[in-house]
């Protein structure tokens, strides 16, 4: 990894509402996030000046029967004839779109680049979504063995539990924490805590005159098969990110022109990307090699260490993934991530706030958009615009975006100067 020829800044960021929207197509979602981004640019700008779109999208092909998505998004955003390119690395599609946007600006080819991400997942019934997500694994040798996408992360969880002697409750605490954050994010798919859900369920059963379960706390609720059914043991419903429609946009410019757009640019000071084998060809199943390497590249480029990072959005497609991520990123030692989560260290009020947006778990996970939406949250946090979920004094942030089980990982580091 060489040094970039010039610096890159984020001067605008936007996100659509995340959720399940029957009537909206990818292009409708994308326009919503694009307008939100345009409105975020402090000094305004002419969107017609955008020179290129790098679009993260996992599979509009399978979800909507639509390929060649990038020029359609460019058309709907009104930026034709800007070069429009789709990037795909499963759930890391957004992260690789961001990385290519950065490299394109650094190369000198473009000064003004739109990075976008979009996924419209709720057209298909749940069974078909399960099949479609399995296409992100090695279909010839993983999916064919009966591994679903939750099943692959569940396998990582069993390896982690066996190695470090922990129970599934540790993972459940990650979900509780992310729902607590999601409640404070007006764009999130689930703006409810697990406690809210528990109380709501109790109240509903009582109103129906049915027996009310004796759930004392969130863990009681989450351990209950009827409230929180197993998807792929030990991953249950509330360990899994939902099926989400959503889009996100970032405006990247060369460092030297950043203040033309805002007096508060967010600089991208580190970027890394690496790939890895399917699980069965790895020696260690409790860590993602691609994440460790991408993180090392990003830290080296940025010249910072894990302890300098004030806020991080990490890829919690499943709760176990967040635990592993916090170790791969060097925030906690191997085996300590689960305990750190249980101790509240990754909560907003902890010493290492993780996924203040609610993460993929509560904010939602429109797969190709997630890597871009993570950067939107860090942009807001570093500018002090994260509202009720603001982490005070956040000046250095990180995003970690994983494709499938780490076949791809990108890590980016952002600075407010």
């Amino acid at each position: 990894m060489g040094k970039l020829a010039r610096g890159v800044a984020v001067v605008g960021a936007g996100v659509s509402r995340f959720g399940a929207f029957k009537e909206k197509t990818s292009r409708d979602l994308f326009v919503e996030s694009f307008q939100d981004m345009v409105n975020s640019v402090d000094k305004g700008f002419d969107p017609g000046e955008i020179e290129a779109l790098y679009l993260g999208n996992f599979s509009s092909d399978l979800f909507e029967g639509q390929g060649h998505t990038a020029p359609i998004m460019a058309e709907w955003a009104g930026i034709i004839p800007a070069a429009a390119t789709r990037l795909e690395d499963a759930c890391a599609s957004g992260g690789v779109a961001l990385r290519q946007g950065i490299l394109a600006v650094a190369s000198g080819a473009y000064d003004l680049v739109l990075v976008g991400g979009v996924e419209k997942m709720n057209n298909l019934p749940t069974e078909k979504v399960t099949d479609t997500l399995a296409a992100a694994s090695d279909t010839l040798y993983e999916a064919s063995a009966g591994f679903t996408f939750p099943g692959l992360y569940a396998a990582i969880a069993t390896a982690y539990m066996a190695r470090y002697g922990i129970t599934p409750e540790y993972f459940m605490r990650v979900g509780i924490k992310n729902h607590n954050n999601g409640k404070l994010n007006p764009k999130a798919q689930f703006q409810t805590t697990i406690r809210d859900l528990l109380e709501g369920r109790k109240a509903k059963l009582a109103a129906q005159g049915k027996p009310v379960p004796d759930w004392q706390d969130e863990l009681d609720f989450l351990r209950d098969d009827s409230a929180n059914p197993v998807v792929a043991w030990p991953m249950r419903l509330f360990d899994c990110s939902p099926i989400t429609d959503g889009a996100a946009c970032l405006l990247l410019v060369s460092e030297e022109m950043a203040t033309r757009f805002t007096d508060r640019p967010v600089y991208i000071i580190g970027s890394g990307q690496a790939s890895d084998y399917p699980l069965h060809t790895r020696s260690d199943l409790t860590s993602l090699g691609s994440a460790r390497l991408a993180a090392r590249q990003a830290y080296e480029m940025a010249g910072v260490t894990p302890r300098d990072i004030k806020v991080a959005e990490v890829h919690d497609c499943f709760t176990v993934a967040e635990v592993v991520a916090t170790e791969d990123l060097g925030f906690f030692a191997p085996g300590e991530g689960a305990r750190a989560a249980a101790e509240g260290r990754t909560a907003r009020s902890g010493d290492r706030p993780i996924n203040t947006s609610g993460g993929l778990k509560a904010k939602g996970h429109p797969v190709g958009a997630s890597g871009v939406a993570q950067a939107v949250e860090v942009f807001l946090q570093l500018r002090g615009e994260a509202g009720a979920r603001q982490v005070p004094g956040a000046n250095l942030g990180l995003t970690h975006n994983v494709g499938a089980t780490g076949g791809t990982c990108t890590v980016h580091i952002y600075e407010r100067r």
Partner: protein, 135 residues
């Protein structure tokens, strides 16, 4: 040709076959046509012992369509695993001879041996790769 089709062909004969590099001796499972270690493509077929251990596993309750057609899903989970073979390479495969409804009792590190599972698939009967606890 060291393809998926050839690998599945061997499975139908109840053989677990990997590819062995004729130049550097590295064994690959799944088989592949090209050796990343020494950059040779002089592969030959190599039968594996079929003995190994469970490196990771899961019990799937929300099943993909093709497993639903075999009767699995909510209420009837199945187990599947990452198995590390004695010869080194690993493979993903069904895990049978265990109670998928009691996953707490399945242990990472369990010694397993290969089993060839006869299943009804769309194109008729076929043999799928599986492992079961070693006897």
């Amino acid at each position: 040709m060291f393809t998926r089709d050839a690998f599945v062909g061997w499975l139908q004969e109840k053989k677990l076959m990997g590819a062995r590099c004729g130049k550097c001796g590295q064994v690959y499972l799944p088989p592949r046509p090209y050796c990343p270690s020494c950059r040779s493509s002089e592969m030959e077929w190599h039968e594996l012992s079929g003995r190994g251990e469970v490196a990771a596993f899961t019990a799937v309750h929300v099943a993909p369509t093709f497993m639903e057609k075999q009767g699995f899903g909510r209420g009837k989970p199945y187990a599947t695993a990452v198995v590390r073979l004695q010869e080194g390479p690993g493979i993903s495969a069904r895990l049978v001879g265990v109670d998928a409804a009691r996953p707490e009792e399945i242990k990472v590190g369990t010694q397993v041996e290969v089993d060839f599972l006869e299943v009804e698939a769309e194109g008729g009967k076929q043999v799928d790769l599986a492992f079961r606890p070693a006897t």
